[in-house]
Symmetry: C2
Subunit: 622 residues, 2 copies
């Protein structure tokens, strides 16, 4: 079995594309990993902002999460509608493009592209960061572990969609199951204890308050907590990955993901308050994540604690995978409209978008390398792209329903309108709260991506205009070309070239560069005896011989100049340059022969003349 087959699996025929499609059970890990894993850090992110309030933070974390849950519900209903309306894939790009215009769509696309790339780098580095805080001995290998993980995720994705469902399904379901068990036990104990359960492992005491409550603080807390929602878009973007009935499967998957996510967020928020758990400073030694504190408080530091934490870590690290599902699909859509290189549209050996997967891996790998595997500084940039795309998508859906009309359209407009408004407001809050932390980079990158889109599209349009579409073959004025055969001496290779040239046209011109050392007369006699005489005898047109002097012993330059002269001499005709070429059997044999054929070809390409055609007559030395 070839090595590539071993690593990536045998190529799949196009006919198996249906079989590669997924159902709900596979859809949850593939499209939901990002969303579900964010429950592990979203509530903590919101809580961290509130910590200057001290124990008062416990009063406000509930309401903040409640607002986030409301927004999640709005998003859920909005995206259900989107999926139904765009059963072949209703990502923000498509929805915005079709309803708000191409450039609105590209704006959403650019925002999502940045978001997907950041998600890979941040997800992997967060997971590895958590692993390292558990096993500090690995600290020196942070970047290496990040890159190994990236390569593994890339390989799994290159193996195909079904394979990734299998690989990512186990940690996803382990994480959800164990966390749900912890939450049920915790909530049950809390109710049994009248809201004041006794922790098995006591969380650290809350710090003293050092700030007073402000709307700004609550808004920032909300903005940070919104990172818990960034995976929701994935399902609507990937509808066409589902087996039939695609819309129903997508709906069920979205429902499952949102319900689980909402349950996890609500449970976590409740237990944070019930056990009085605060967010700790990551930079200080002894740091424990909020999830770690909750699990410790509920079930103590036993085996189950470690299973839950391990599942949380792996889900965090693997949440990068959602980008690998979303990014290539999005890029393919943009490429199909001509705004990105067409290679994004081609389908690889395992029926996945190989090019998109590789680009994502390389760019996020470079990000990881640039930041040494520690991407804390990228986290503030995170939610901006996602919420920008959400808003555009919802606004697009409003326009969609207005255009479509119909009896239920008013309800639909309302649902998506509320969604647009809510996500738009959230976006403004996030931007205001995070722009100083570095989110301005996003505001710079998005226009740059849009400029790239513009130039790519312009190039493709230009090419299309030049090469045109189908049109009837024009066979008038199809004169034979003027054939030019550069020859150094007379041998079997030049004979083959001249034979071919005489077949092609009556006007064959052999060009001999005279470097001013050898004697011409010998050559001229050979030419007369071995070329002209046989051609005359066969009644064929006789090839002409042009001898071009080269006082400076150059070869290519005088040859190119002579071809330019011939172009002037035959202004209407194609010039076919026959290049006899010896092809060595081994690379080292190239050292033994000049590479004039290559230089000549490069020189001809450099002249950029559509009238000059090159013909390679190879001569293989075996």
């Amino acid at each position: 079995m070839p090595i590539l087959d071993r690593i990536l699996g045998r190529p799949l025929p196009s006919s198996q594309e249906e079989e590669q499609r997924i159902g709900v059970a596979a859809g949850i890990p593939i499209l939901g990993l990002d969303g579900l894993s964010s429950s592990a850090y979203g509530p903590e992110a919101a809580l961290t902002v509130l910590m200057p309030l001290g124990s008062l933070a416990m009063l406000y974390i509930g309401p903040v999460i409640l607002i986030i849950l409301t927004l999640l519900a709005i998003l859920y209903f909005s995206y259900r509608q989107t999926i139904a309306a765009y059963p072949t894939g209703g990502g923000s790009y498509t929805v915005a493009k079709e309803n708000l215009g191409t450039w609105a769509g590209l704006l959403a696309g650019a925002a999502l592209i940045i978001d997907y790339i950041l998600n890979v780098a941040v997800g992997i580095s967060a997971g590895v960061g958590a692993l390292i805080s558990a096993v500090p001995g690995l600290h020196d290998y942070t970047l290496t572990i990040c890159l190994i993980l990236l390569v593994l995720i890339t390989l799994v994705n290159l193996r195909g969609v079904r394979e990734s469902a299998l690989v990512f399904g186990i940690p996803t379901y382990a994480f959800v199951t164990s966390l749900v068990v912890v939450l049920i036990i915790g909530v049950g104990r809390s109710f049994a204890a009248g809201g004041h359960p006794v922790p098995v492992e006591s969380p650290p005491a809350l710090p003293a308050g050092i700030a007073t409550l402000s709307v700004w603080l609550l808004l920032r807390s909300f903005a940070s907590g919104c990172t818990a929602m960034t995976g929701v878009e994935a399902v609507s973007n990937g509808v066409n990955a589902f087996a039939k009935p695609a819309v129903r499967n997508a709906h069920h998957t979205l429902t499952a993901i949102v319900l689980i996510l909402a349950g996890l967020l609500a449970g976590i928020a409740y237990l944070l308050k019930a056990y009085g758990i605060g967010a700790m400073d990551q930079a200080k030694p002894g740091y424990q994540s909020a999830i770690s504190q909750i699990v410790g408080a509920v079930v103590g530091r036993g085996v189950f604690y470690y299973i839950t934490i391990a599942a949380a870590l792996s889900v965090l690290a693997l949440s990068a995978n959602t980008s690998f599902a979303g990014f290539p699909r999005l890029c393919r859509q943009i490429a199909e409209d001509g705004f990105l290189p067409k290679a994004f549209g081609s389908i690889g050996r395992r029926l996945v978008h190989t090019f998109g997967i590789m680009i994502l891996a390389v760019v996020s790998g470079l990000l990881l390398i640039a930041f040494g595997g520690i991407t804390d500084r990228l986290i503030p940039l995170f939610a901006v792209g996602a919420f920008g795309a959400f808003t555009l998508s919802q606004a697009g859906m409003v326009a969609h329903w207005r255009r479509v009309g119909g009896p239920r359209s008013r309800v639909s407009i309302l649902v998506n309108g509320v969604g647009a408004l809510a996500t738009g407001l959230a976006l403004i809050v996030i931007m205001v709260a995070k722009v100083v932390e570095g989110a301005w980079i996003i505001l710079l990158l998005i226009p740059l991506l849009m400029i790239l889109f513009y130039y790519v599209k312009r190039h493709y349009d230009h090419v299309a205009a030049r090469i045109g579409g189908p049109r009837p073959l024009d066979l008038t004025h199809n004169e034979p070309p003027v054939v030019v055969v550069p020859i150094a001496g007379l041998n079997a290779i030049t004979s083959k070239a001249l034979r071919f040239g005489l077949r092609l046209s009556p006007d064959v011109i052999a060009v001999h560069i005279h470097q001013g050392q050898e004697d011409d007369r010998v050559f001229l006699k050979q030419w007369n005896d071995d070329i002209e005489a046989p051609a005359r005898a066969a009644g064929m047109p006789i090839p002409k011989l042009d001898i071009v002097p080269s006082p400076y012993r150059q070869l290519i330059k005088p040859l190119l100049c002579h071809i330019d002269e011939l172009k002037d001499r035959y202004p209407e005709r194609l010039i076919a340059v026959i290049i006899p070429e010896m092809v060595e059997a081994h690379w080292y044999e190239y050292l033994l022969h000049n590479q004039r054929a290559q230089w000549l070809k490069a020189g001809l390409v450099g002249r950029r003349d559509n009238r000059v055609v090159t013909i390679n007559i190879p001569w293989y030395l075996d």
Copy 2:
């Protein structure tokens, strides 16, 4: 003025080759630098071996140098004869090849090639080493200075022969003049003082003797001193660099070099003894070279001392240049016989052998880098190659005279016979004395070089047998080729390709790879309307359309397989594959298009079939 012209000078036309030839005054620095500079280290090398004798060494350095001078005289007369007999260049390679057979010639050639390369590395590093012992602050930059010097010497040589005469003439004549002045003053004072002159600057006292005299010690001293003779071959090798009358100019140059060298060696030997100067240990601090001690003793450490030492240093460093004159000429001769790549024979823009100069620069540069610019360990390897070549050359001349005969042949045989015997004996002494010091590497490298010669020759013979010499053009069976045009869709590029194909042959087969996604019917209708119908209307042969299924969405592989099928279907015909190719205007535009044309070309070359010809129909996007 283009940058290359600025660095290397304007290209010289072939007609100026005569003007680039040199006379005696230029010949001495170009071909004699190596020989003359060796007076600066040869006597010291002999003396170093004698130092265990303590002050007794003074008794024996004279006789050892005398033997070396005798050998030099023998070599002089032998090489005079060689120059006269081979006025177009009588290097050891030519003489041994023509008289002792090809492989004897190649043995001499291999020995000289290694010697030339070592000379560059050792010369530069010795000069820089001396500079650094004068200016210890430069120690950290040893390798850098070596490489800068190498690049400068290379550039001067690339500028042409006359330029190097100018650049290298000044230090050569400065060195010879100042050293001769010192020697005359010293010898004069010594005579005036009855053989016991009072040194201006007293040399360090001689160490106590720790060994007794032995024949072996004297032989080793002689072997080491022989490094003073390694440049003598250069003149006979470079006869054709001289202006007419070449033989007379070469004779005068050789005479001048040998006389100056002999005078310097004799004078140095005399003053060593007169002033009681010993060789010091290079590894110990306070080391002074023998030349430095002599100059100090004779004229003191004044301005003249520093001028003389500076000239000696630069001549030492520039002695590498003799290799740059000899190596490319030698390699060209070997290449002309087919034992080295033909590129050694081509003549560059300034009428020098650019390729040989570059190879010498690169190989010796790698040597310098490998040894960090300190090549002490290479010095023992040095004289082996030179004396091997001397011996073969002299033996060849003996055979030459025996064949030629004539009245003076017996004298000539005697002269060259004595030369062969003397250099042969010296070679044996050098090998025995130095084999343990590392000279065995030479005995390994020479056979390796000969194996290389063998395989290069075999390859060229093989190629020549395959492509043959001139023979009459065979125009029978010149059927039109079967034309294959791979097409993805129908547009202006494919139209151009099909037009060209129909011009070339009535059998045009368009191949369309069907990747199992698009609908064939649209394409078939277009083909019918836009290709078949116009061809039929024009009364031209109608191109065939082969649709090849590709279940795994590959393009190149099914195409190559289909071409293989066509080869079977048309067993006697050439297959001409027309490759329509879009050529982008900027490199980054290549990212926007697939490079199928390149892959297809590579695939066709990989199949190595002489029956398949490729035709590039370019389409330039401007």
